[in-house]
Amino acid sequence: MKRYSVFAIAREALRYHQGWEKAWKSPAPKAAYDAIIIGAGGHGLATAYYLGKNHGITNVAVIEKGWLGGGNTGRNTTIIRSNYLQDPSAALYEKARSLYETLSQDLNYNVMFSPRGLLMLAQTHHEVRGYLRTVHANGLQGVQTEWIGPERVKELVPIINIDGPRYPVLGALYQARGGTARHDAVAWGYARACSAMGMDIIQQCEVKGVRSENRRVTGVETTKGFIGTKKLGIVVAGHSGQVAEMAGFRLPIEAVALQALVSEPIKPCMDVVVMANTVHGYMSQSDKGEMVIGGGTDGFNNYTQRGSFHHIEETLRALVETFPMISRLKMLRQWGGIVDMTGDRSPIISKTPLGNCFINCGWGTGGFKAIPGSGWAMAELMARGEPGPLAAEFGMERFREGRFIDESVAAGVAH
């Protein structure tokens, strides 16, 4: 892999940019690998990257049904934060957020991490109490967040209406180190770094079956033939249930559609991320000037990657109320992704009934922010066969044992 640098740009400028090599190779699958990761989204690629970087396992294939980063990695609203209430979540998401800070340097790929700050508005007294509790919890967890009053909110976000008729802004949970990153670049950067370590990224290769003997996986049947492996990692988000079924176990997961949309591009007007959970919407402005908007999920099981129209209406109604100046803004694009929701709205990084098969799923509506931490923890689990401190609480046995990591109550809607 040739390093990207200012000198590389200068060199290529002198020869009409003819010398750029492909960012990653697209080889045919080998007969067998030390580890196979199913799913080349952010989480799968990050898992492969940290398997190589932290544990020296580089004979790895990442298998992808569609194209790299074409699932939820390319469909989210790119928000990064770690202001969670429960200790295990705060540790995992804070690990991810801190890895994002140096990810561009680590990967030699600009992921455009922008720690622009993030506000979660409190619009009911219940929410005020909840966020104050989170601020105090974050203080104990070593996550830097603060509680700010409505005047400070208005200062940070001049376009906001803090005296809304239904839900005036009573304050906000502010994480100054939260922000956004370029979602595609995260997947591309990890893929390039994995390829440089000699890993195989195999796109357009759908897993059709998981072969096992004596409760150990021996390989996967794919549309490009059988591929043997010593370890298997399932990192497929919305389709976790299908792959788990091939491997012979059932998950505490339901797949639902979550939508997002962007407006036409406008001049810079908001340089923080604002989430308004009571009225059900959140918004940030992309580097291109589009307002990036997200809202709630549909309530029913759905694999169609499109959501219900009335949720768009709800989200936009909430945001027009919060930011009156966007009322004339045209929406440019809308899309949906299939998110994997667990009962406690916390992810699963877990061993499975098959000894050498591991699963990373259940990120629900908030997976993008966790990509580096998730990959870090999953790689540790796959390399050692036992979870490290980050993943320990996220095993799926927690549902049997009643040890929930209950963020659904803690985080409200926009998780």
Partner: protein, 107 residues
């Protein structure tokens, strides 16, 4: 927009009129049951990509719970039927099989 016909009041209800209630025909386990049974009743879900049986409530209509057979990959609705049905009725199964010949069946 998803439209389901309420089997009680006969109204073809739009999605905004309905409240989804998750997987149908769960076998319930309570105190005294094994951990496995209780866990699978509480948390494990079929989460089918394809034919799915589920509970709905006609929340802004007659208010009653009913069941629906629906394809989660295409949003096609095969049938709706009363909630007091322990497993999918044969005529619903037949209708699904007619529409989905390669369906592996219920259970």
């Amino acid at each position: 927009m998803l439209t389901l016909t309420c089997p009680y009041c006969g109204v073809a209800a739009e999605e905004t009129e309905l409240a989804p209630g998750g997987e149908a025909h769960l076998k319930r386990y309570g105190p005294g049951s094994s951990d496995d049974d209780f866990e699978s009743y509480m948390f494990a879900r079929r989460n089918e990509k394809g034919v799915h049986f589920e509970r709905w409530r006609h929340a802004y209509g007659c208010g009653k719970w009913f069941l629906a057979a629906r394809d989660t990959a295409t949003l096609e609705v095969f049938a709706t039927y009363p909630a007091q049905t322990p497993e999918p009725p044969p005529e619903v199964i037949d209708r699904i099989k007619a529409r989905r010949p390669d369906w592996k069946g219920y259970k």
